[in-house]
């Protein structure tokens, strides 16, 4: 078995700014983030292995920008999002928020940082305290950070509620009295209460039907325009991501395997996994039978990831060969601002000689399936 790779992206290559938003220093900078969960068995809780939920993830996020994070279920998206806010302790790596090292913060300073970085959860059902009125839930952040108290806090709660399209009178109702979409808005209001600069949106619209989803997406976009918020937008609905994201990062088995502007990634996906992902999007038109790249092979376990390129057992690239099972593909710039981890999509820094030495038999060649 290969040693745990230092991450597909080597520390010194970092996606360079490509969109107009990316001027000045990034708001969030994540480097080589790793999270291993121990697998325990038996009554004694013996550790028998590790789930490599996140295995070396690096990205940057600028103010006012939306970075979409998509990928297979269980590939570590939520874990990444939670580590960024330090709701989970990373096993390794670094997170810098607004220049400050988040992992070095503790106690009061960590709590102060949390005022500026918030999260919206996937499950509107479990993300609200069933015994607290929604008004109290929204008020909490105001009290903790001494932003407002008494009458002023009440006023702010009412403002926030109407900002997310809920009636201010709803403040003294309990979460169970709301539908999924309404609860999700309460979650958004709670996140907004402390006027954050970054919101990690962990599948904020997955539980919503299309018309409510459209309302929430529009709301998030309005807020971004008005307040210059940055979003780390985790989702599996690729059409929503295409709609809202400036750049998109695709994750597979704890690694970022492709990172590019939304336009590029949807027009010209380079990493074979991204290609499969895009082709699997169901087409809301029964007359179109989509040409689907069907993934074959076993779904690998993050407890025991494949060697070399983690995607190789299921890869459909016609040039796949021995080298893919041996070499860890670096996340490299294939064209301006378009980063992908695949040694068979030229150009690549892993030269043909190196590939041959690792047992490669097929020269790299661009492969773009018909989507």
């Amino acid at each position: 078995m290969t040693p745990p790779s230092a991450g597909v992206g080597t520390p010194d290559v970092h996606p360079t700014p490509t969109t107009s938003r990316q001027s000045g220093p990034p708001l969030l900078e994540v480097r080589d983030l790793v999270k291993h969960f121990p697998i325990r068995r038996g009554i004694l809780g013996r550790t028998v292995g590790h789930v490599r939920a996140v295995d070396g993830v690096s990205f940057q996020l600028w103010p006012g920008e939306t970075l979409g994070l998509v990928g297979e279920s269980g590939c570590g998206k939520s874990t990444t999002g939670r580590m960024v806010l330090r709701l989970l302790e990373p096993s390794a790596g670094s997170v810098h928020f607004d220049g400050a090292d988040v992992l070095a913060l503790s106690g009061a300073r960590l709590r102060a940082m949390r005022r500026h970085a918030q999260i919206i959860f996937q499950d509107p059902f479990s993300s609200l305290n069933p015994r607290m009125t929604i008004g109290a839930a929204i008020r909490e952040g105001l009290t903790i950070h001494r932003i407002a108290a008494g009458e002023a806090a009440d006023r702010r709660v009412r403002e926030l509620l109407s900002e997310v399209g809920l009636r201010p009178q709803f403040a003294d109702r309990y979460p169970h009295e709301f539908s999924g979409g309404q609860r999700q808005r309460v979650g958004i209001a709670r996140a907004l209460s402390v006027s954050p600069r970054l919101i990690v949106c962990d599948e904020p619209v997955s539980a919503l039907d299309v018309s409510v989803q459209a309302q929430v997406v529009n709301l998030l976009q309005d807020l971004q325009r008005d307040r210059g918020l940055a979003y780390l937008f985790i989702a599996h609905d690729l059409s929503v991501v295409e709609h809202i994201a400036d750049r998109v990062a695709v994750m597979y088995l704890g690694h970022i395997v492709e990172l590019a502007s939304a336009t590029d990634i949807y027009r010209e996906p380079l990493m074979p996994y991204t290609q499969a992902l895009l082709s699997a999007v169901p087409v809301p038109d029964p007359t179109v039978r989509s040409t689907r790249v069907v993934l074959s092979g076993d779904v690998p376990s993050p407890a025991n990831p494949p060697s070399g390129c983690v995607f190789h057992p299921r890869c459909q690239h016609p040039r796949k060969d021995e080298a893919c099972t041996k070499l860890v593909p670096p996340l490299e710039e294939k064209s301006a601002g378009h980063w992908a981890a695949c040694i068979k999509q030229p150009p690549t820094t892993v030269h043909w000689e190196v590939q041959k030495a690792a047992g490669g038999t097929r020269q790299p060649e661009r492969y773009l399936p018909d989507l």
């Binding site: 809780g45 939670r82 806010l85 709701l87 960590l110 709590r111 102060a112 949390r114 005022r115 970085a117 918030q118 999260i119 959860f121 996937q122 499950d123 059902f125 479990s126 993300s127 609200l128 305290n129 069933p130 015994r131 607290m132 909490e140 952040g141 903790i144 950070h145 109407s162 900002e163 997310v164 399209g165 809920l166 009636r167 709803f170 003294d172 109702r173 309990y174 169970h176 009295e177 709301f178 539908s179 999924g180 309404q182 808005r185 979650g187 709670r190 209460s193 402390v194 309302q215 529009n218 709301l219 309005d222």
Partner: protein, 289 residues
Amino acid sequence: MPLPPLLISGASTPAPRWRGSKTAVVACAALVVVVLLALLAPVLTSYGEAQILPGSELLPPSRTHLFGTDVLGRDVLTRVLYGSRISLGLAFLATVVATALGTAVGAAAGYSGGRVDALLMRLVDTLLALPRVLLLIGLLAIWPQLPLHVFVLVLGLTAWFPLSRLVRAEVRAIVTRDHVLAARALGSGHLQIVFRHVLPNAIGTVLVAAPLIAGGVIVLEAGLSFLGVGVQPPTASWGSIAYDGFEVVNSAWWVALFPGLAIAFTVTAINMLGDVLRDALDPRQLPLR
């Protein structure tokens, strides 16, 4: 553009559901009666708690002595009324002690997880394995004239183990919910999270268990007093009256029967109340979605 305000479907503030429940009414009424009887004992009876009526030993129930009299010629009704003050008071205080301890230990273990959890739960396992009755008998044998307040404390300190397990299990489940994480993301401290976001959601468990503890304490106190090691004469508790009656149960059944009935009646009512409380305090009237 602001979003249109939403209408709430099926909205309602959770109205306490006990209004309509017959069980609730019956249980509460029964307990109120028992407590009133205890408080009004001096008014309800013309005899003194330990007043001996010479010449009227072991009289069967009659107009003048509704529950009859005991070996020493004391009115059993009077003794049961005064005894309820001791039995109920003991049960209440011991339950408060046990509930507080059990909840605290359970919450600490469940919330911190990991080593603290393992340690505390092993401790509870060990304590659960101790034969509680024998322990108490032993203690009372060594220290026969145990003052009442120490007795209460001892009862409470030995009644919290099962509750702590229940609370811990409940808390383990609650801390996996996202709302706890959301509270951390907002910058709440641990104590704040435990008191505002975790414990209120475990309150159902506590409320169902607390009456069980109270019932258990009443029965245990009665048992100990019955064995002659609990509440000491001349103070009456339901258990000690029954103890007095036990020796003459063949000839004078009434002395043991009435305190026994009082115990059964009260414990049943308390347990019913536990169920009702749990239902009433559940805000989730809409189980769907």
